[in-house]
């Protein structure tokens, strides 16, 4: 009994909070379903604004179809898109949390398995990139962990479709290329992507860090609500400038021509090596799916 009491207290006297894997699986399953059925309000508002601003009649009608689609998906509780994505999961694990009852990663995969089965979501994962046999339950998830202070467990599920992921790109620029080089690479990537990632898109940009850090920054920036600029005024300016430039390209809704190619540009930065200027562009489709829970 003494031992069990001791186990509940860490060295700083904080209480250790137990969280059971059963609750984690259940939460992940629900997040997978909700992310695929229900468009977030911030994205819906951005689409409504885009509808007003688009000058192409075809483009306007496409945006209307996208808004109507979200409405049908919500009311009938079906996926907005048939590509219900790779389950990308971001975990923020409080240092004072103790996971009980099994492996955290297995609990997440069990949640994905259940969510994709019970929610009638498409199973889009092959078990080997070259042999290409479907795993049948959309596992495994791609999971990223962050250890943070506190006794909470935050889980974000961001189902990522193939169409937009395939048009993402990364480049190791020379530091001399500077911000102009970054802007050019972002524009080149969006233009080359054209209709494929289902515009109007949300563009995630990661600048700095290492090769993989830049890619992760870009992906994480897509988790931000679309009406939320970067907290740094300089980066927020860069986001605004990039959005204006992207929406001058003419790609438009579904790439059929128009003003609204992107709903938002999100940029995140990280310190870089003296020799490096990595820049990654991760493109999200107009659904920008992600849902989170704090346990």
């Amino acid at each position: 009994m003494w031992l069990s009491v001791l186990l509940q207290i860490n060295e700083e006297g904080n209480t250790i909070k137990p969280i059971n894997v059963v609750d984690i699986s259940q939460a992940v399953a629900k997040l997978c379903i909700d992310a695929n059925y229900f468009l977030d309000q911030d994205v819906l508002s951005a689409l409504q604004k885009a509808y007003e601003e688009e000058i192409s009649l075809t483009g306007k009608e496409i945006i209307k179809q996208i808004i109507d689609n979200a409405d049908v998906a919500k009311k009938e509780e079906v996926p907005m898109c048939q590509d219900t994505g790779f389950a990308v999961v971001f975990v923020e694990l409080g240092q004072d949390v103790h996971i009980e009852g099994g492996s955290l990663e297995e609990a997440i995969n069990e949640g994905v398995r259940r969510g994709y089965t019970d929610g009638y979501l498409r199973k889009s994962i092959v078990g080997h990139p070259l042999e290409r046999v479907n795993t049948g339950d959309n596992t495994p998830a791609v999971v990223y962990y962050k250890l943070v202070p506190g006794d909470k467990l935050k889980i974000i599920v961001a189902p990522k479709g193939g169409g937009s992921e395939n048009m993402s790109a990364i480049k190791m620029l020379k530091p001399a290329e500077g911000v102009e080089g970054v802007k050019q690479f972002v524009l080149d990537t969006v233009l080359a992507a054209g209709p494929n990632p289902c515009p109007p898109i949300i563009v995630g940009v990661g600048i700095g860090g290492t090769f993989e850090k830049a890619a992760l920054l870009a992906k994480e920036s897509l988790l931000r609500a679309v009406d939320t600029p970067n907290t740094s005024p300089e980066i927020a300016d860069l986001e605004r400038e990039l959005l204006i430039s992207i929406n001058k390209l003419g790609v438009g809704p579904q790439g059929l021509g128009g003003r609204i190619t992107a709903l938002a540009v999100h940029v995140d930065v990280f310190p870089a090596h003296i020799a490096s200027l990595p820049v990654a562009v991760n493109i999200n489709c107009h659904a920008s799916r992600h849902k989170e829970i704090i346990l």
């Binding site: 075809t58 079906v78 898109c81 048939q82 498409r122 054209g194 209709p195 390209l249 059929l256 021509g257």
Partner: protein, 191 residues
């Protein structure tokens, strides 16, 4: 030329003839009625392998339209799950062979290769775009659904869909027009 395109849609019923296909122009809105066959990379690879071996195909392509799509599973009591277009470029290697056999149309999203665009011109076919990500809305235009080939491929099987007013836009026509090229030219800001 795009400015003059009417937003009033043209109704088209499958199987379609060359005469009808030849009248279509980029930017036109079309409502497809009749049958669409789904097919993605895996099904295309199988069809083209059969063609290579001189064997009969499980579906008669003449006059038909293929929809590049793989539906999500149908909920109980529903005809089909959500089913929007997938990226067409992945089928570019296979498409010219099917077009040569009489395939009259393809529905998907995204740019086609020069080889596909050439085959569209040569054999009188057409490429339509449906709205990517409008999969729940699109599923409401599907009135019947059955697997006709390769059930082992799951969502990648070939489904025969009976559709009513399935909404698409002409992207590549028999005249060599390409809406992805023309649309961007028209709306790119010069400043």
């Amino acid at each position: 030329m795009l400015e003059n395109i009417s937003m009033t849609p043209i109704r088209l019923t499958t199987p379609v003839t060359d005469d009808i296909i030849k009248q279509l122009r980029i930017g036109q809105k079309v409502l497809i009625n009749g049958v669409l066959y789904t097919g993605r990379d895996a099904a295309h690879a199988k069809l083209v392998a059969l063609i290579g071996n001189g064997q009969e195909l499980p579906i008669a392509l003449k006059g038909q339209i293929i929809y590049y799509a793989g539906p999500s599973p149908a909920k109980p009591g529903r005809i089909i799950g959500s089913v929007g277009p997938t990226t067409s470029g992945r089928m570019d290697l296979y498409a010219p062979k099917l077009i040569a056999l009489g395939l009259k149309g393809m529905v998907g999203k995204g740019k086609r290769s020069p080889e596909v665009i050439e085959a569209i011109k040569q054999y009188n076919s057409v490429y339509f775009a449906a709205v990517g990500g409008a999969a729940a809305l699109i599923s409401k235009t599907i009135k019947r659904c059955e697997v006709v080939a390769y059930p082992e491929l799951g969502p990648e099987a070939i489904y025969r869909l009976a559709v009513e007013d399935f909404s698409v836009i002409v992207v590549n026509d028999t005249q060599g027009g390409d809406l992805y090229e023309e649309g961007i030219k028209m709306y790119a800001a010069t400043s």
